[in-house]
């Protein structure tokens, strides 16, 4: 591995001023399951690695009636082992408990999975349908960005050089709502999605109609995709196999995958249809509805 300097700022102010003063390439270290591997292969060669795990704001996991705040450095395992979070946001747990194996989950952070901006990242579609906001800060101020606008391409994100992803802010689940994440991999664990999909629905009080929906798909484009048209097609429609089928078909058309060693374009488009169907079925069930 190349040589680099290592810093462990103890406060967010110290971390932000390091980012503001940076003159050479910097990388932030949380779980390291992407960064350390990327440094070992020489894909990235930062002169300074800043370990962000001492910063309180990046380690918070706060569930309240206002929703959920997940510090960017909180590990997947910390999230899925929190029973209150697991009950309130099962779709998040669907994804967090599927990433890598138990050793990876103990280190890999929610914020890291987002910042790494892999097209196949499992958490991103789940975060998108849960309407997560990325809370971003630099030494001059802060801003919030919907997660669907965070990734700008494979491995690239919307953060400026002096900006830090502090946390993710998820609104509380609405009444009669539910969400679900599904992915396809040849092996159940330790694998990267050939395609993945997440869906969130809000049903009418009688559970018979869709009030609103959100559908996101991954590994079928340069970034995870929020499929607005599929969600709009469900609005006001009866909760039925036919409605779900129409939305899944629109999602299939929105997918623009590539051929690679994990799958072909045709297979991935087919998978989107199947996974969106299953994610919607799961979301409807969790919302207390039935097909």
């Amino acid at each position: 591995m190349h040589q680099f300097k290592y810093a462990t700022p103890g406060s967010i102010e110290a971390l932000l001023s390091m980012l503001a003063e940076q003159r050479s390439p910097v990388k932030l270290l949380a779980g390291g399951t992407d960064l350390i591997v990327q440094m070992r292969t020489g894909a990235v060669t930062p002169a300074l690695v800043i370990d962000v795990k001492q910063v309180v704001e990046l380690n918070q996991l706060l569930l309240s009636d206002k929703g959920l705040i997940i510090g960017a450095a909180v590990s997947c395992r910390t999230v899925y082992e929190n029973n209150h979070v697991a009950r309130a946001y099962p779709a998040l747990i669907d994804a967090a408990s599927l990433i890598g194996g138990i050793q990876i989950q103990g280190r890999a952070s929610i914020g890291g999975n987002l910042c790494n901006a892999s097209p196949s990242a499992d958490l991103i579609p789940a975060l998108i349908v849960l309407e997560a906001l990325a809370v971003i800060q630099n030494s001059r101020g802060s801003r919030e960005l919907p997660v669907e606008d965070f990734c700008t391409g494979p491995g690239t994100n919307a953060l400026a050089g002096d900006e830090l992803l502090v946390s993710l802010k998820l609104p509380p689940g609405a009444k009669n709502s539910g969400a679900c994440f599904r992915r396809f991999t040849p092996r159940n664990e330790m694998d990267i999605a050939v395609a993945n999909a997440a869906a969130a629905v809000v049903l009418s009080a009688d559970g018979k109609h869709f009030t609103s929906a959100r559908i996101a798909i991954g590994a079928v484009g340069p970034t995870p995709i929020l499929v607005q048209e599929a969600a709009e097609a469900l609005q006001g429609k009866p909760v039925s196999g036919a409605s779900v089928g129409i939305a899944a078909d629109i999602a299939r058309q929105a997918a623009s995958p590539i051929n690679d060693m994990r799958g072909t374009i045709a297979q991935r488009k087919q998978l989107v249809q199947v996974l969106v169907t299953r994610a919607l079925q799961g979301a409807i069930e969790r919302a207390g509805g039935a097909l």
């Binding site: 591995m1 779980g31 390291g32 440094m39 370990d51 050793q103 103990g106």
Partner: protein, 160 residues
């Protein structure tokens, strides 16, 4: 050589100081600096679990942790498993059930299995297979490893 960092940590219950470069992984520090060579290098990219250790009680791949990150933390490795010359029940069961052949993956499997039994003392076969999915073995075909974990679980519950 870049600047060396002085790291104070705890390994297998004992206070340990070492010097390392920021670029050295915990795996390199354990093996090349501290000569704790029980932890094995397999893939060196987080896929195989051969270098599994615990960091503050959480299973991690030592190849995906920097040595400098363990300052003030507690690490346990395979060397901390046998006590006073007595093998851990999991080690005994792996030997009896031939849960190993070449042995490179074995320390990782043992450390992962111990964490599993601490969390779930009587795991189902599915639970064992799921928990150990981050540990790869190219020799045994896994079945004998599963048998060994089940045997150790029964013995530990019975207190024998």
């Amino acid at each position: 050589m870049s600047e060396m960092v002085h790291v104070k940590t705890t390994i297998n219950g004992a206070a340990v100081d070492f010097l390392c470069e920021p670029r050295q992984s915990l795996l390199e520090v354990l093996r090349d600096v501290l000569y704790l060579t029980g932890t094995k290098e397999g893939c060196n990219d987080g896929n195989c679990g051969s270098c599994t250790v615990t960091l503050d009680g959480v299973l991690v791949n030592a190849c995906c942790v920097l040595g400098v990150e363990v300052a003030g933390k507690a690490v346990t490795t395979i060397e901390g498993m046998a006590k006073n010359g007595n093998l851990h029940p999991l080690q005994v069961a792996f030997l009896e059930e031939t849960g190993l052949q070449c042995g490179i993956c074995t320390p990782g499997f043992l450390v992962s299995s111990r964490a599993l039994l601490e969390r779930h003392p009587a795991p189902s076969e599915a639970q064992i297979r799921h928990w150990l999915a981050g540990n790869l073995c190219r020799c045994t075909g896994y079945d004998r490893i599963i048998l060994a974990v089940q045997k150790a679980s029964k013995r530990m519950l019975a207190g024998t």
